[in-house]
């Protein structure tokens, strides 16, 4: 089959590789009908996650058709159309049983790295480096889904791939970002980053009862989408002082909750940004927490900062004093997709959510390099490029 593989920092390429086979009794094999790029891939491609190996198949946000199931798979049958959560759960450990699937104990076959780095290893993720299990990703004709009954969800009849694809990753991530804010009546939510995750966080915040949502980015097309498609008020951080603007827009209170949908490669305008870039370039610091710092300072006293943007290692100049003295609640994590996907499919079916507008570009795997370059540079109004893998 054809697969889009990591070939080195910011280099990808299509290779002909063997088809995946059933390796465990709970596996299913899917024919991938759509697979999307994601902001997380950029952290991998930029070389900030050191356990990528040349030849690893990329991709973790996908939808497809079941072609084969192993002996112990009970719910899925060949022919079913399914959307798959990007992070793999076993369904049985303490964490899966308490719906914290991304913390699963049993799906990372290479736990040593994270055990050292994080204290305890977390779940396996498709196409997301060997620290996270080294699972082959979905930018390929076929993909293997472990513990398929737990991780794959049947697509309700009549819904096209375009509308359901992002229920794999961007949508549950944004939804979880809003869910962690414990939104109350009258709450104003600020969302940093208007990428796929940010767009979904805005819509989810409204679904969960937010009064107003203010979205922050610098790309005009993305800000326009946040306003027109998701209904947010928008701030261009290159035009305004974000903290001042947020304070004024919230009657001097500050947003009740702040959602970081940017993560470790935040872009910035101040001296601290220059400082972080230098330190990150020489690896004295692994992550640039520009957005995180801003969110903590902008958040109202006693508010919540919800972190969905990915961080991988260490940050500098973390405003702990502000967080502590203001009594903030910090919530974060990789998404627990399996907890949210059923209710999200229901929202999509009822027409309350339609993430398909995130697809601004389509590509064959063969043009993978161009696809990732366009996505990385946000050229040509690119929000997400979706691959339709060739056979």
């Amino acid at each position: 089959m054809q697969a889009l593989c990591y070939q080195g920092v910011n280099r990808v390429g299509v290779e002909t590789v063997p088809d995946p086979e059933i390796l465990g009794p709970h596996d299913a094999i899917l024919r991938v009908t759509m697979s999307s790029v994601c902001g997380s891939d950029l952290h991998l491609l930029d070389g900030y996650v050191p356990t990528m190996r040349q030849g690893d198949i990329l991709g973790h946000e996908f939808i497809g058709e079941v072609v084969e199931v192993a002996t112990e798979v009970k719910k899925l049958r060949p022919g079913m159309r399914v959307v798959v959560g990007s992070i793999i759960g076993c369904g049985h450990c303490f964490f899966c049983q308490t719906e914290q699937y991304s913390l699963c104990d049993n799906t990372n076959p290479k736990p040593e790295v994270l055990d050292k780095l994080f204290g305890y290893p977390t779940a396996g993720i498709y196409g997301y480096s060997h620290a996270f299990g080294g699972f082959a990703g979905s930018h390929a004709t076929y993909v293997r889904v472990p513990f398929a009954d737990t991780n794959a969800f049947e697509v309700p009849e009549g819904l096209p791939d375009e509308r359901v694809l992002f229920a794999s990753d961007a949508l549950p991530t944004g939804y979880m970002g809003a869910d962690l804010c414990n939104i109350q009546r009258g709450d104003v939510i600020a969302v940093w980053g208007c990428g796929g995750v940010g767009q979904m966080a805005i819509q989810s915040a409204y679904l969960l009862g937010a009064e107003r949502v203010i979205a922050i980015d610098r790309f005009p097309e993305r800000l326009a989408m946040a306003r027109d498609r998701a209904g947010a008020e928008i701030l261009d951080y290159e035009q305004v002082d974000v903290r001042e603007a947020l304070r004024e827009m919230t009657g001097g209170r500050g947003p009740d909750a702040c959602i970081d949908c940017v993560g470790m490669e935040a872009h910035g305008t101040g001296v601290d940004y220059a400082y972080d870039r230098v330190k990150q370039a020489v690896r004295l610091e692994t992550d640039r927490p520009t957005v995180l710092r801003q969110a903590i300072l902008a958040c109202r006293k006693g508010g919540t900062v919800s972190i969905m943007g990915v961080y991988g290692g260490f940050v500098d100049k973390f405003p702990m004093g502000a967080a502590m003295n203001k009594g903030l609640t910090l919530k974060m994590g990789q998404q627990h997709g399996q907890r949210y996907i059923p209710r999200l499919l229901e929202h999509i079916r009822k027409g309350e959510l339609d993430p398909s507008y995130l697809i601004t570009h389509r590509s064959l795997l063969a043009n993978g390099q161009m696809a990732y370059d366009t996505f990385k540079e946000k050229r040509d109004g690119c929000m997400r490029v979706v691959f339709t893998p060739e056979a």
Partner: protein, 259 residues
């Protein structure tokens, strides 16, 4: 055959690797005095030179080290301490012979009786214990274990004690140093399943069990223990040991040669 009754009481407690090798036993004010005095002596020694200077340097160095570290080897030897702190709970020591102890614990979200039933079936062992190919029940509390490592096959016999009440399994040898491999089960609080504790007591003088284990645990029995427990947990909870071995990638496929 006389059985080595498993004494489980000395297997409980805090694992060795979690204990500080040089616990604090010098009080805070004494540390300051010791450091200052030591530093002064070293300075004087440098100024004085000669044999007396050397001696002052050595004594001063020792005092300063003891002050900075907060650990005094002399105090330790006599079981003294100038720290006002509660005495740590007594840690049992195995006295008969110097044994290396390796301990690892994992929590499995299954009830203890189920875990125990699974473990006591010899047919299950090769599924999770790395490099173990087969375990045969010879009856009368004896088992034979077949192992394979790097293409090398061997087998060894051990005595097995099953303690139903304490839900413990203990492997040991009738001859040689008192080595053992013990698996102890305990209930995790709040119905969270079973804490499975693996304790290896291995003789530094290479007793029989160590030699047998070395065949499978290689040079790193701790790694073997961790891998084994992790696999056991996956099997019991998820019903399979998750793997990426054999999945596609854009790397060249290595030619596998017969060993």
């Amino acid at each position: 055959m006389q059985s080595k009754t498993p004494r489980l009481d000395d297997i409980h407690g805090i694992p060795a690797r979690a204990r500080r090798t040089n616990p604090l036993n010098v009080g805070p004010s004494e540390r300051v005095v010791s450091t200052a005095l030591g530093g002064g002596l070293v300075a004087w020694g440098v100024w004085r030179r000669g044999a007396l200077g050397l001696l002052a340097g050595a004594v001063g160095g020792a005092l300063a080290t003891r002050g900075v570290r907060g650990h005094c080897p002399a105090y330790a030897a006599f079981g003294l301490s100038s720290r006002k702190a509660p005495k740590p709970t007594h840690m049992p020591v195995l006295d008969t012979e110097k044994l290396t102890r390796i301990e690892r614990t994992v929590t499995v979200a299954r009830p203890a009786n189920e875990v125990y039933a699974f473990l006591r079936d010899p047919a299950h062992v090769p599924h999770f214990a790395p490099h173990v190919e087969r375990v045969e029940d010879l009856g009368a509390g004896r088992i034979r274990v077949w192992t394979a490592m790097n293409g090398e096959r061997s087998s060894w016999e051990a005595h097995i004690d099953l303690d139903h009440e304490a839900q413990a399994l203990v492997l040991s040898h009738a001859e040689g140093p008192p080595e053992r491999l013990a698996i102890l089960l305990g209930n995790a609080p709040g119905g969270r399943g079973t804490e499975i504790r693996l304790v290896l007591d291995l003789s530094k003088t290479r007793g029989l069990l160590l030699r047998a284990l070395a065949a499978v645990a290689g040079e790193d029995p701790d790694r073997w223990a961790r891998a084994g427990l992790r696999r056991l947990k996956m099997l019991l909870e998820a019903g399979e040991i998750v793997t990426t071995e054999g999945q596609p990638s854009g790397r060249l496929i290595p030619v596998t040669r017969a060993a």
